[in-house]
């Protein structure tokens, strides 16, 4: 599993440009799916199982995209000005390295600080790709890049960029592979453009038209020094979402997830996330409405180039998803 995670997190796939990640996923799941296709926006939609009498059409969604940057201007000395794709914090940028889709790499530099206690804005940052003029700059306006870091293996804890949400992509791949017997028609959606506003899941859910929707995404934790106050911690199992900034999970689905975890002896935590949201919030509002929930994988340092997860939480998330999908979903 670590190998799969490494492969996924080290791909470049900022929102709108997920095809490299998608190709990796396709190769991984092809032998295990009944059918798969890519929709108009680039979502990868894979079906496994056919609907039996007690079954439903269930949509799972983990997003392939990651936050990144996009070039807005190349100046006369070859420096690249940029803006963000998704929720990039300027404070996490200086000194960071980026890799463009075309392979060009660079480091983020800063203008002279106006004062020491004032945070940089994105407009004060630039990327130095080693060019010395506009003409020898390998980047042009509109080119997209992701943060560039290899994965760090700390044993149970793994650190990488784009754990949000490749760790859930890995969990969904693993679930898909291990799922043997299900009464449901399960659609594993690997969605696009979540970080810029849940756009891929919006159209994927319309196309799939599910009876039940479950997002698989990361959530924040409250287990770091003087951090956000929050119940969720690394290593204590997947978090069953009750609410986030834009969604109230269907309480029947929450109960079903809790019971599934307890029955199978899987550690779990309850999640109440005050800001942020997941694909589930748009799945829920599709067409005439879809009962929806979310299985979250706890993650520290979200939207930094070094996001940390616990491999045991991932394994337990897979087991929880298998437990949910292997049994009838009675709401």
């Amino acid at each position: 599993m670590k190998e799969l995670i490494k492969k996924l997190v080290e791909c470049i796939g900022p929102s709108g440009f997920e095809h490299i990640v998608r190709d990796v996923i396709k190769d991984e799941i092809a032998p295990f799916v009944d059918e798969m296709h890519v929709d108009a926006l680039g979502n990868l939609i894979a079906r496994k199982g056919t609907r039996k009498e007690s079954g439903l059409r269930v949509m799972l969604s983990a997003h392939m995209d990651e936050i990144g940057i996009i070039a807005t201007h190349i100046d006369e000395n070859g420096f690249v000005r940029f803006t963000t794709v998704g929720g990039v914090f300027p404070r996490n940028c200086p000194g960071g390295r980026v890799r463009f889709m075309n392979g060009a790499q660079g480091v983020i530099g800063t203008e002279r600080a106006e004062s020491a206690d004032k945070a940089y804005t994105i407009e004060q940052l630039f990327i130095d790709v080693g060019a010395s003029s506009r003409t020898d700059c390998p980047v042009k306006v509109g080119d997209v890049a992701a943060f560039d870091r290899p994965m760090l293996d700390l044993g149970n804890r793994l650190v990488a960029k784009a754990m949000d949400d490749r760790i859930s992509v890995a969990a969904q791949i693993e679930t898909l592979r291990r799922l043997k017997d299900t009464p449901h028609e399960v659609y594993f959606v690997f969605s696009v453009q979540e970080e810029v506003g849940l756009r891929g899941a919006t159209t994927a859910a319309y196309g799939v038209d599910p009876d039940v929707g479950i997002a698989v995404d990361i959530t924040m934790t409250g287990d770091t020094p003087r951090g956000t106050k929050m119940e969720v911690a690394l290593g204590k199992g997947p978090a069953i979402k009750v609410r986030d900034g834009r969604m109230l999970s269907d309480p029947r689905l929450v109960k079903l997830m809790v019971e599934a975890a307890e029955k199978a002896g899987i550690p779990y935590q309850m999640e109440v996330l005050e800001g942020g949201t997941t694909d589930a919030s748009v799945i829920q509002l599709t067409r005439a409405g879809v009962p929806s929930g979310c299985v979250s994988i706890p993650c520290r340092y979200v939207h930094s180039p070094s996001e940390m997860v616990d491999i045991r939480d991932v394994e337990h998330a897979v087991r929880l998803l298998l437990e949910i999908l292997s049994n009838p979903i009675l709401l």
Binding site: A40, T72, R81
Partner: protein, 365 residues
Amino acid sequence: MNPNSQPSARPPAVGARQIALLEKLSNACAVSGDESEVRRIVLDELKPVADEIKHDALGNLLVIRKAHVEQPLKVMIVAHMDEVGFMIVDKEEGGLFRFELVGGVSKSHLAGKAVWVGEKHHNGVIGAKAIHLVSPEEQKNPISIENLRIDMGPGGADNARVGDRAAFATSFRRAGPSLIGKALDNRLGVATLIELVKHAPGHIELQAAFTVQEEIGARGAIVAAYALQPDLAIALDSTPAYDLPDWDGQENTRYNTRLGFGPAIYVADAGTISDPRLVSFLTAVAEKYRIPYQIRQPGGGGTDAGVVHRSRGGVPSVSVSIPGRYAHTPAGLCRISDWRHTLALLYHALQDITPSILESERRMP
């Protein structure tokens, strides 16, 4: 067969007739929610050539040019008819009216500007205290909306009522190679789309959507795209050019677009990440026909594409804008050459597009 369906190899011109039409469109008032004046002009122009015209529930005008082939590619081009402006919200004594802003108008652009009120374009002015009477303290602060009134004069009290719209009263004019007028955002797009409908090729179904309420959240395009169910979409709009020198002589790095550099093709804005297949198709068309183009600086802002691409199961989309200075102020300025090149780009794109563009998955070429 419709005689207009035989395309010529040359793109339609931007000549006296087209400029006269833009003048008519620019001088018309169509503040979001009340687009009828512009809609009538579009209807007059396109009734003779359209295969189908639908005036939908929200006021969008959906004009179809059918293909002469089975199961054609359905291409939606969307241009919004509405403009930013004002709405009268309260009548006071002596021809004075309180108003609200409709769409993105800056408070600092208001005081002392003439406006046209209501269907009949009654004259009014957004009053401001003459400089003679302004104290140095007052001078420092912008005037809030609550303290501004549209003044229609002591005899004008009956010329407007609550709910009427008002628009900047700027008459269209030409300035050498440039055009100056109000609402060039997006009458430029409307005028361009009218030409594209008149010169539509026969191998695709062209779905021209002249939409309402873009300036207040792309509301018209939501239902237009739902109804039309296109295979792909192009939003045709006007985007700001801020290609002016920086005050400190440094290189201007945030211009959005530049006048004279041709149509602005979008890679990403706040509402849409353009389909890379369509971006590379448009840039290839531009290069093939030697049409200048620019990539709009990625960042904020948005077009109707933001809602169109999320319609139903998803619609591959891109935006193309004609650059214009001073958008959403009383007077914008654009270059005729940028307009001509935008028309040429989209004309050739429609001629050359085939269903094969969607055969491969969304990915960078």
